[in-house]
């Protein structure tokens, strides 16, 4: 998913301006017709989002059938399955119907009953599975987000101000390492170092120790500490580099010279004038990344065995559990689309030059 164009017009087909000057009539937009044009813009985006979700589910369906990893019916029939049994299961799951019919049934259920179907694996409703796993994913994602922002902002700002210094070189070198380190590798290393069961230092609960917040807050917090930092590492590094780069660019702008010429203190020049402008694109990025992760942080959840949506997606792929795959993919796509719309709307508030 790419960052949407800031002006938002590239996403929508160009149509003739509606009577009375709509969002396309630039002058009237500047005059402050924000409310109505913004609503129309969001509505348009939501409609397109629904179309997109439909396309995503059709593609998932097609991919699953075009490249079957394993026959779901055979997988469920057990080791010594007779062809009759497999055929029976196939019929029970509706897999013997033509593809379009299966898709039609699926979409009908989804639209009419918000029904994502039932898992081939254990006949549990996919939507209830996803919803029950959502808190873990949200906890992981938001915690990691806090960590990566708290780490990347100060590092990015300091290395931008002290460009070329030892601090700058050390942190940016470290950032490069963190960006390059894959989550599953970093996760295993961290487990090997700090987990209570296999770690060199028996510090934190290891893989599979996640409990819901409501049952034991302390255990919940401790079990998520390592996942938070592991998931945040690459993001923190990437964001630190982005903050640094943006801030260096902004600090070279004429309006920063103006701010200094006004006699403002250096702290105010950098934070209020520099960072404010440098952060706008970063907020956009952060919104999109959050959306992607809320759809399931597959690798981190798998390495740390956190029962989140990402772990569910991983398991369902391993088990060729089409309804579950379909459900998690749609769910992920949903969050990404929502994040996209959200970010585009927020952008208009962050940057007054952007109007829809």
């Amino acid at each position: 998913m790419t960052v949407q164009a800031a002006n938002g017009t590239t996403n929508a087909p160009r149509r003739p301006p509606p009577p009375g000057g709509g969002p396309w009539a630039l002058g009237s937009v500047v005059a402050g017709a924000l409310g109505s044009s913004m609503t129309r813009y969001v509505l348009r985006r939501v409609l397109w989002g629904i179309v997109l979700l439909f396309v995503v589910s059709a593609l998932t369906f097609l991919i699953f059938y075009a490249f079957p990893s394993a026959d779901p019916a055979a997988l469920r029939a057990g080791r010594q399955a007779t062809p009759q049994l497999i055929e029976q299961i196939r019929h029970a799951l509706g897999l013997d119907k033509p593809l379009y019919e299966q898709f039609w049934i699926y979409i009908k259920g989804l639209v009419l009953h918000f029904d994502l179907g039932y898992s081939y694996e254990n006949n549990v409703s996919v939507s209830s599975q996803i919803l029950s796993r959502l808190p873990a994913t949200i906890a992981l994602t938001l915690g990691a987000f806090v960590v990566w922002m708290l780490v990347s902002l100060p590092i990015g700002i300091i290395s931008a101000i002290k460009r070329g210094s030892a601090v700058d070189r050390a942190t940016m070198g470290g950032a490069l390492v963190a960006i390059s380190a894959p989550v599953y590798w970093l996760g295993l290393i961290v487990l090997l170092l700090f987990s209570r069961d296999i770690g060199w230092i028996h510090l934190l609960p290891g893989s599979g120790s996640y409990v819901p917040l409501t049952s034991d807050p302390t255990q919940w917090f401790l079990s998520l500490l390592m996942p938070w930092f592991v998931l945040a590492a690459a993001f923190a590094a990437f964001y630190a580099r982005m903050v640094r780069g943006n801030l260096i660019e902004v600090l070279g702008e004429d309006y920063i010279r103006t701010a200094r010429a006004k006699g403002l203190g250096e702290r105010r020049v950098i934070l209020r004038h520099g960072l404010r402008a440098a952060l706008t694109p970063i907020v956009t990025m952060a919104g999109l990344d959050l959306g992607i992760l809320l759809g399931g942080a597959v690798l981190t959840e798998t390495v740390f065995n956190i029962p989140g949506v990402g772990r569910y997606a991983y398991d369902s792929i391993i088990n060729s559990d089409l309804p579950a795959i379909q459900g998690t993919v749609l769910f992920g796509a949903f969050f990404i689309i929502v994040a996209n719309i959200f970010v585009d709307v927020v952008y208009a508030f962050l940057d007054p030059r952007v109007r829809y």
């Binding site: 004429d254 309006y255 103006t258 006004k262 006699g263 403002l264 203190g265 402008a277 007054p352």
Partner: protein, 345 residues
Amino acid sequence: MALLEIDDLRVRFRTRDGVVRAVDGASLTVERGRTLGIVGESGSGKSVTALTVMGLTRLPNATVEGRILFDGTDLVGLPSDELRRFRGSRIAMIFQDPMSSLHPLYKVGWQIVEAIRAHEPVPHDVARGRALEALEQVGIPNAAERMDSYPHELSGGMRQRVMIAMALVLDPDVLIADEPTTALDVTVQAQILDLIRSLQETHGTGVVLITHDLGVVAETADDVAVMYPGRVVERGPVEAILGAPEHPYTWGLLQSMPSFSAGAGRSERLQPISGQPPSLIHVPSGCPFHPRCPHAFALCPQVEPPLVLSQPGHDVACHLAPAKRQAVGRQLGLEEAARGGVATG
């Protein structure tokens, strides 16, 4: 005593390619209520001189030497946070490109209020009132509404008016205008220059006007300093500099200006100054202008001419005999006047 006196200012930047001598012994004075025009090509050190007065060249790779006496205080040696108190309140500056000089994400009223409150602990609504007054003073229509406009909602001329309002809202003693009209339409240029001049009259501000446009100088300046790589090569009252210039570089500048009077024929050719402006890293020996000077002789590449008094109020740094310089300069001034050039405005 002069309001602002720059004495033998030297600003160097260490770069990968070598030491850039952006300003190399420049001396200037600005009097209260008068306008000093600083003229020169790109890279002649005009802007760096101005930025150094503001303390905006205090970078890790820069060294600043010499004196900048402002109202009796030497700004060169002043600690940064003390200098900051002068900046914006007693010495203000406006820049070439009003499109990029205002913060795009803040309302213009807010930006002016911020400038006020950086120096005076007044309540927000008092500062807002003064900001509004300043916008009205620089002739912005519907100033109350414009307070809540973002810079991108204003035209270039309006933005430059906002910059001027912001610079003058604290009633500074010195206003430095660095090419304030270069980025604007010709019709707007005249309005902005008029505005600066009228505000100067009411406030008694000393103005430093940096430009490469001799027409602007002729219209606006009381005194002129001509800069050539980091040095002042000629300075004096505007009538003297444009009417009877004595430095070959100034002659070149005048001759490379088009004139627009009806009598000037189209066949008339401009005479550009030959050669390129010198590198600020490898400045020519002796008089830095000698490689491009049609009048250069044996002494010029060897000894740098000091800036010395030629006639009352008129200083020149040139080895040519004063009588010859004055003769050529007067001749040129007459020709300029005859073809309706800048000297007659």
